[in-house]
Amino acid sequence: MLALIRKDLQIEFRTKETLASLLLLGLLTLVVLSFAFDPASELRAEAAPGALWVAVLFAGVLGLNRSFLSERDNDCLQGLLLCPIDRGTIYLAKTIGNFVFMLAAQMVIVPIFVFFFNLPISSALGGVLLSLALGLLGLAAIGTLFAAIAVRTRAREVMLPLLIVPLVVPLFIAGVQVTAHVLAGKPLDTVLHWLNLMGGFDAVFLVVGWLAFEYAVEE
């Protein structure tokens, strides 16, 4: 499994395509959302958590599309299926890879987010990062499973967002709630139930994905 992750990282270092798209799309969304709100108004601070998560979601979904694109050339996915490993292991490796990419992109986007929306840099950021980590893990878990599916259907660009977005609504709601609370200065234990929800979601869908993946890639 490590070999798989290493291979994906290798390809990424060489081409940097996925990281670039994640970064740029996230940035773009933040910029556009900034225009949606008057810089002077109070609404800005209230809308900030939502804006961040919208950017995370959109960039994430579009970036996930690419994760199996690399396996399409030369039918590499079949090459992977020929290896003496379980299908579930392929899923986990891909999910971790996607998670790492998305997290890396967010490391750049979050500071810019703080910058654009003029937020105080405080210990609150720890909470934001935690919610991001949990959210991205869940997004990767569901996204990897459905990316493997979507990449082999027609209309694949449209298919993936359509499949993923309704399913990750809980993550989105939870993420925004935690971010909002934490930025407003409230301590983490007030949002413990949200964090638990995200953690539970992640656990459940990692297992489901691991089990379902073989149905998604075999013929």
Binding site: R6, K7, Q10, R14, C83, P84
Partner: protein
Amino acid sequence: MSGPVVEGRGVGRRFAGVTALRDVDLSVAAGEAVAVFGPNGAGKTTLLRLLATVLRPSAGTLRLFERPLEDGGAQARRRIGLLSHRSFLYPDLTPVENLEFYARMFRVPQAAARVRDLLEQVGLAGWAHRPLRTLSRGMEQRCALARVLLHEPDLLLLDEPFSGLDLDAGTTLSGLLQRERARGSAWLMTTHEIGRAFELCTRALILVRGRLVWDGAINTAQRDQFEERYRTLTHGSDLALSHHAGADP
């Protein structure tokens, strides 16, 4: 290895209502070199993919290395190699990186040395460190060949391996295949090139519309006989037997 490498009974495979393979009984022992003939769409590729465990049979039973397929699909794959039309190699990585990746996946011991060795054997030593994307198709094929031999599989499955190879590469492939056979592995090769087949193989199968219609030993002397039989059996279907210029006796 005592028992047959491949043992299939009544094997069938359907795709969305189309039956690609029907009621195939097949047994392949170690060291056998089998050529698989048949018109396009006869099910040759499907058969290979079934044997590679990439597909699961919709009917019948299949045993590989004397074990049923359900348990140890992963175990069986450790000893199987599939060479297909697509190379299964990543265009953004170099041949060395590609091969080292597969070596790691197959737990090949002393990977780096083995990779280097194989690249030399297929004649890619000079291009080992350029991204695969920049190499020609013929070179990509050679790299795929290296990939398939990396883990010294006991069952080699080759899907029209000579198509698209230049004369040189073809000779290399023949040499490598014969060496594999000497080592004791079994291989099945789908092909339209009767010359090569008779040169390398001891047994032939003919598939027509998913059915195994002929299974027997072949040798160079009976070649014309075989061609005649093939023509009769595939009467009406798309014939595509060709004669490879360099291999005509």
